[in-house]
Symmetry: C2
Subunit: 344 residues, 2 copies
Amino acid sequence: MQMDERKTRILMAIIDDYIMTAMPVGSRTISKRHEIGGLSSATIRNEMSDLEELGYLDQPHTSAGRIPSVKAYRLYVENLLQGQNPLPADEARRLRVHFDRRARQVEDVIASAAQAISDVTRYTAVVTTPRAQSVRVRRVQLVPVTENAALLVMVTDTGIIKDALIHVDGQLTADHLHEISKMLTEQLAGLTMEEVRGKLAEIGEAFEAHRQVLRGVLEAVEQSSPGAKDIVVGGRSNLLHYPEYSDAEKARAVLGVLETRDKLLRLMQAAPKMAFTIRIGDETGMPETSECSIVSMTYRIGDETTGTIGVIGPTRMQYARVIPVLDYMGKALAELLRDAGPQP
Amino acid sequence: MQMDERKTRILMAIIDDYIMTAMPVGSRTISKRHEIGGLSSATIRNEMSDLEELGYLDQPHTSAGRIPSVKAYRLYVENLLQGQNPLPADEARRLRVHFDRRARQVEDVIASAAQAISDVTRYTAVVTTPRAQSVRVRRVQLVPVTENAALLVMVTDTGIIKDALIHVDGQLTADHLHEISKMLTEQLAGLTMEEVRGKLAEIGEAFEAHRQVLRGVLEAVEQSSPGAKDIVVGGRSNLLHYPEYSDAEKARAVLGVLETRDKLLRLMQAAPKMAFTIRIGDETGMPETSECSIVSMTYRIGDETTGTIGVIGPTRMQYARVIPVLDYMGKALAELLRDAGPQP
DNA sequence: GTTAGCACTCGAAGAGCAAGAGTGCTAACA
DNA sequence: TGTTAGCACTCTTGCTCTTCGAGTGCTAAC
């Protein structure tokens, strides 16, 4: 048996219906819909039976309707990704209203984007800060904070700023630090983070006097790589809108994942070549999220720097709405962050 | 009718039991407990009837046990706050394990504290960054980021750092910015944030050439006051452990509050003179949290700078555990942040 | 003042039943 | 050969009824 055009149309109708209602879909429901050219429920029943045999539908129990399988959703999103899905004007407007473009700090922009996405889609949104594949240092500056602490600011290629408090024992004046900053900038400019580590050790030899400080810088570089605030989640409470999480234990499992940085990062890593990555159910690769879907997308600022925006929700997600929202938002985000970043 | 010692003891036993089980407590349950010197269930029943009349107990329906009223919890926590509640050694150990003291950035420390508190208490924790009542500027530094953006770093009295990206049109060299930084430090050092605003306008007149930059600084100061990352929530998923939130709608309402900065801040503002602020049910002042309790505590770094740590959970919260945990954590936090901050 | 005893109340849990939604199959139809 | 009407069958859902048990309040005895 093979899929044909009519089977596909019926399957899509079933998925649409199930996405809206979360209830098993019966043959009569579909036969009443006019897109399906007035077939009787009996015909639909036959087709549905075929679709079940083909693995696209599941039946919770004999006398209920049917629900789409993961395979069905796969086909559904594959179809969606083929076509163009422009964002409806009113959705775009709502997004613009929620997305605060005045934010200056990258973190704020990110947070605002997550908020906007979650507000508009009614799902939970996850956004990561843009991260360059290979960042290069452009400038280093030490700002005195107290007698024995200084703020290390590293400006990179992509305008992304790492800052870290480093502790220094010696009594260093502001001028001292300024001098060291200049030296560090000269030495480190143009290097990637990995190279910086080697170079720092080298410099340590030459500038015995500043060893203290340099060790602090090295430490900061080493532990700074995955910054803490580089991934934000918005609209967690949206999860609880959906009956699939009305069981507190299920909701807790998913919410728990969203609280664990490692797991969250794992969920968000997308196939970088592709615009969209859609993982459905078990494809998310985590038992806690085996009843979730994740739609994510990389946005790019220039060639090297990419971040991820995504949405997590039930497998019966409104993919057709989510995809254009992410698409729009990814562009808006890239544009905004590019303007804030360095001009080529 | 009056409360007497026995009534109080019985009430406390009822509360203890209800906190553990979330089930209405019957007279027999209490009479079996040995702390209550072997009174029969009938006697307890009489006392419970009195306690209900006094407003300390409610009866969900005739033939169920009784549950504590807000008034009862009030009495309960009042009693708790009188006595000493040292943190059990094993809890202290667990806290230390979860609390990552290596974090350098204030935000990281805060986040780690929230995580630790929520892990140990099994409730949701909220922590705010320390904020001085009247911060004074100590040093200003502009770090070039790109041709038309610079990072403004303001070091204050209390070692707290505000940083913001500011945009500048002119082609300013690093030396230019360094010069401006020096000038700004000279002009602004010792001023409070309010005074800085006035002063900046003044300086603008004198240093016509740097007007651009100064406007940027002013803007940054103005919108920086309530920093975005100054309040963190940990262990949201813990909420869902408790049957009072097994209804998704109720859980969503509370979780929603935790996502709204304003509301969250409102919940956390504590009576600053007191060590602990405990708000029970409606006392939280928000309809969404009318079935929650919030225990919060201010921690102080020096005389001026205070932050808040707190826990939110069901009204039948394990106050007796939460209070010493917060107490311990507040001290640990103050100590850690003081070390990172300025030495007096 | 305390307690044993007892009648009474009320919710929770389970059994039984009817209604309804949905299926699968068969036979007739175009 | 594909489509459809019809019908028996299956299961869930929602309802009522009943039972069970926990818990109370009251009374009378200790």
